[in-house]
């Protein structure tokens, strides 16, 4: 889509205004949401590969009975770090990151609502991950499981600083997730292109908004719980000490109240990604837009009512067990509705079997297995036989890999051209897809078998003669296949970045707004803000479609629109690149790292954080009320 009202000179000016400055400090201080999001994605995948390497080592240990490849101490650190990294440092951040990249593009705006906060969030996330792995590499890796049950993780049974490293790492990732959530909600509510009502909002954006509300309700709970644990360990509080009125079960309630929505925080963006990919791949809009939105909202709400299904074995009152069995079963209905809508879309569309579509199809073949085992786990008496066995890793990996990672890889393949200007190689893509599909099934299906033969989870070894050796050996083999698949994927990405096929604006002939701008997306996203008239703007727009004029090319401005009618409301000046979010993030890092060792870190660290925040918030020249009125008057909608 060209920018009819802007000259070549205007475009150059716009580029100069919005580009990230060159050099190291320019890169550190960038407030371009795309730069920050790519950083997030790359970092998240580094953590993914590190956690995957740990998993490979664990599978080698479990390949045969009574192996001595890993000591119990090392194994405990590895499985804890694997789970914690995957959940906190990969899955949630990568979904947030794809959201931070795509949401402004999908709704027709130039940046997220709070550019400096976005930058801050990334550095906090990175330092949390650094803490985790610095811990692991210095023998201080947490070793009590990714959900760190007390009293095992408490002061008496976990000496040293390992669990404190875990508890404070949570703080970092929680801050970063809340930052992303706030960004997305504010951006989507106030910065949509005119005409993009909620009924026309792309499903991926809906998914990210719902996820963001869930983050706001769930993350503070785990942050509070982890600080309670840290306090029990550091300053003798009694939250989880039954002998002094505390409760070991309290930890589980607090953790799982966060922990269950957490997996849906990972899952719902993936549902949005499927809906984003399908229209281009089957040549029709997704069937049942409204049903899908309502289902996603229902899943979001219901996910907060399921948490005690992780605690069926702890001896809750039977009434509680029954209630949570009901809600856990109920969530299958909105999930099922979404699956039916997608199948209806595919049924009535004309599919093209390109790599993103393959990843979407794999969702149906993998996630549904996980969904079915999930229903088995919702049935309390059956759960009591299979929970805390290898049935659980089997279930979670089918739902997380099938339900989140596969759609994610499809989305990355789909949006790679928009971010880089080049397409991923289709042939290598097919190879990595099939290797991954086979590897995942070979690794995780046999776990159902060893579970039904009685193998508990989180065991560093097992005795021979129980029938567990063969399933474990198969799983280990499968994990090697997964490793090869990921290697092929990495090679694909590297080669395509260097010399991949040039993509052009719209290689997939897709329906959403981001395909109307050049690839790679320019720093300012949209040279002119489009006016949206339907649910598939890229398919519906033409040369004579309306657009907005009046935004400055020399000042960073975004258009704010009203929430309900999406009429232009005002122009909002955004800050440019600045080092202060980085400074504040480093000060925050120092505070939280110090909190592992002493509570004095709080008052001392607060001083530095305050300095960082003062620098951040230092007032800049703003507009007078007359200038402001003039600005609002200058916005026009052309061609409507």
């Amino acid at each position: 889509m060209s920018a009819p009202a802007l000259t070549q000179r205007d475009l150059l000016e716009l580029k100069r205004t919005w580009d990230t400055p060159r050099g190291f400090w320019g890169w550190v201080s960038s407030v371009d949401h795309k730069v920050v999001a790519i950083r997030y994605v790359v970092t998240a995948f580094v953590f993914f590969l590190l956690a995957g390497a740990l998993a490979l080592l664990m599978r080698i240990q479990l390949a045969g009975p009574e192996n001595h490849f890993l000591s119990p101490d090392l194994y405990n650190q590895f499985f804890t770090t694997h789970g914690t990294t995957m959940m906190f440092l990969f899955a949630v951040p990568v979904m947030e990151a794809v959201g931070l990249y795509m949401v402004p593009l999908l709704i027709g705006t130039r940046n997220v609502a709070f550019p400096r906060l976005n930058n801050f969030g990334y550095w906090v996330y990175l330092m949390g991950g650094v803490l985790m792995f610095a811990g692991l590499f210095s023998n201080t890796g947490p070793d009590t499981g990714w959900f760190s049950y007390v009293p095992l993780a408490g002061p008496e049974f976990s000496p040293g600083k390992r669990v404190d490293v875990w508890a404070q790492m949570i703080t970092f990732t929680e801050i970063a997730a809340l930052v992303s959530a706030v960004e997305i909600i504010a951006t989507v509510f106030k910065q949509r292109a005119p005409g993009m009502t909620f009924r026309r909002l792309p499903l991926f954006v809906w998914a990210m908004v719902i996820t963001s509300f869930m983050v706001i309700f769930a993350m503070p709970v785990v942050a509070t719980a982890s600080q309670m644990l840290a306090m029990d360990r550091l300053i003798d509080t009694q939250f989880f000490n039954p002998a002094e009125g505390g409760s070991a079960i309290l930890w589980q309630h607090l953790f799982w109240f966060f922990g269950h929505p957490e997996v849906y925080i990972i899952f719902i963006p993936a549902l949005g990604m499927i809906s984003a990919i399908l229209p281009a791949m089957v040549r029709r809009p997704v069937f049942g837009h409204r049903a899908l939105v309502i289902s996603m909202i229902a899943v979001g709400f219901l996910s907060f009512a399921l948490w005690a299904h992780h605690m069926f074995a702890t001896g809750l009152p039977e009434g509680a067990n029954m209630l949570f069995a009901l809600t856990s079963g109920a969530i299958a209905v909105p999930t099922g509705i979404q699956i039916f809508c997608w199948i209806a879309t595919i049924w009535s569309g004309r599919p093209r079997f390109q790599v993103p579509f393959l990843y979407v199809l794999a969702f149906f073949f993998l996630f549904i297995i996980g969904g079915m085992t999930g229903l088995l786990l919702a049935a309390v008496p059956v759960d009591l036989q299979v929970t805390d066995t290898y049935f659980l890793p089997a279930h979670i990996h089918y739902v997380l890999i099938g339900g989140a990672v596969f759609p994610l890889l499809g989305a990355i393949t789909f949006w790679f051209p928009k971010a880089t200007g080049r397409l991923l190689d289709e042939r290598l893509g097919r190879w990595s897809f099939w290797l991954l599909f086979i590897g995942v099934n070979l690794t995780f299906f046999p776990m159902h078998v060893s579970a039904l033969l009685g193998m508990p989870r989180r065991v560093y070894t097992y005795l021979p003669g129980l029938g567990w050796t063969l399933p474990n050996a198969l799983s280990t083999l499968g994990s090697m296949v997964i490793a090869v698949a990921l290697l092929v994927l990495l090679v694909n990405v590297a080669r395509s970045l260097a010399a991949g096929q040039v993509a052009g604006d719209d290689p997939w002939h897709a329906d959403s707004l981001e395909w109307t701008i050049p690839s790679p997306a320019p720093s300012y996203n949209y040279a002119v803000i489009p006016v949206v008239e339907g649910i598939a703007p890229a398919w519906e727009r033409s040369e004579s479609s309306p657009y907005v004029t009046g935004l400055s090319t020399t000042v960073r401005e975004v258009l704010l629109t009203s929430v309900e009618d999406v009429e232009p409301e005002s122009r909002h000046e955004q800050p440019g690149p600045t080092i202060w979010p980085f400074v504040a993030a480093m000060a925050t890092t120092g505070l939280i790292y110090g909190l592992i060792f002493t509570v004095w870190a709080v008052p001392i660290g607060a001083v530095f954080v305050t300095i960082g925040l003062i620098g951040w918030a230092w007032p800049r020249r703003g507009h007078s009320p007359d200038e402001f009125a003039e600005h609002v008057a200058a916005i026009t909608v052309e061609g409507a």
Binding site: M322, V333, I346, R350, L453
Partner: protein, 338 residues
């Protein structure tokens, strides 16, 4: 009818599993059988659903492959087609909700049944979990009739058993797949699990909640036997250890009492009252050592005593180096503790 189908199903499965001692697919108790029936039905339903949904998907994929494929997308699909599709999706959703309602109802029914209090007078056993072994305390209305054993349970066929579950340190989980689902041992509270064995045999239980370094090696044996055999076992367990019958065993008792052993272990009838480790009064009658980790043979016992950290690194039992003569005597003594 359903019950018969279920019975056939798990008979087949049990045969397929070759009598696995630690498998929920090989139930020996009333509760485990009910749960397996329910689980088998649910699994069949799950497989059916998976096949159905994915068949529809595959059919949908094949449907319009042969039509000419222009690049122009169908921006506004025909309303009548959309309505028809809508009806199909709605019907599928309604069917899903109905099936789930029945599913949850059946879950409630079975759960209520397997957790109901036993009708006949049960045997009550208090289990205390510690890192990384199990203390079993058989209760009795007459206090002098209670006795303590470790890492092995005996129960008679046909009589309900109530396990009272407590923990001395961290959260453990008591799980005998052949008999019933698991229940956690949570410090600060007493949980309860009930099972009713229906078949004789030897089964295995294992801790099912991560509890530290040797969670992997925290198992126990469950022997389900006839009422007579059970009564004989109980009578034997209630008797304290007799004095050693030969000089080697007497020397062994001397070794036991002079080393660190009584600090943690108890032997009723000898002057050993430790309570930090398993009660050893009838250790020779047990099937395994070290919480189900090692077979109870002379060689394994010797290795365990001298260097427990070799089998269970991180164990609380310290190494006990001693001369060959002392070890021989000690083994002779311990082997007499039937």
């Amino acid at each position: 009818m359903i019950r018969r189908l279920g019975e056939v199903a798990f008979a087949v499965l049990a045969a397929a599993c070759g009598g696995a001692p630690q498998s929920p697919l090989n139930p020996a108790g009333a509760e485990a059988r009910e749960v397996l029936t329910l689980g088998a039905i649910y699994t069949a339903l799950a497989v059916l659903t998976y096949v159905l949904v994915n068949t529809v998907l595959v059919l949908g994929l094949r449907r319009r492959r042969r039509t000419v494929l222009p690049e122009v997308p169908e921006v506004a699909p025909a309303e009548e087609d959309e309505r028809r599709l809508g009806r199909k999706v709605r019907n599928a959703a309604i069917v899903t909700a109905l099936i789930l309602a029945v599913y949850v109802g059946a879950t409630w029914a079975v759960e209520a049944h397997v957790t109901s209090s036993p009708s006949t007078r049960p045997i009550t056993i208090q289990v205390t979990g510690r890192q990384w072994w199990w203390e079993m305390r058989y209760q009795d209305s007459v206090p002098s009739q209670t006795f303590i054993t470790a890492n092995e349970l005996h129960v008679p066929v046909g009589r309900p058993v109530v396990m009272l579950l407590q923990s001395e340190d961290v959260i453990h989980s008591f799980w005998v797949p052949a008999l019933n689902g698991k229940k956690d041992l949570v410090p600060g509270k007493t949980n309860r699990v009930v099972f009713t064995p229906r078949e004789a045999g030897t089964f295995r239980g294992q801790c099912a909640e991560f509890c530290g370094f040797q969670h992997a090696h925290m198992a126990f044996d469950v022997v389900v036997e006839s009422q007579d055999a059970y009564d004989a076992w109980v009578a034997a367990q209630r008797t304290p250890a007799p004095p050693p019958d030969d000089s080697l065993a007497a020397r062994g008792q001397q070794v036991f009492l002079s080393k660190a052993c009584p600090t943690c272990h108890a032997i009723q009838g000898a002057r050993a009252f430790g309570s930090r480790g398993p009660d050893l009064t009838h250790v020779a009658s047990r099937q395994s050592l070290a919480a189900g980790t090692l077979p109870n043979t002379r060689g394994h016992l010797a290795g365990w005593i001298v260097d427990p950290g070799r089998q269970k690194p991180g164990t609380r039992m310290p190494p006990n180096p001693m001369s060959g003569e002392e070890l021989e005597a000690l083994l002779a003594y311990l082997e007499g503790l039937k």
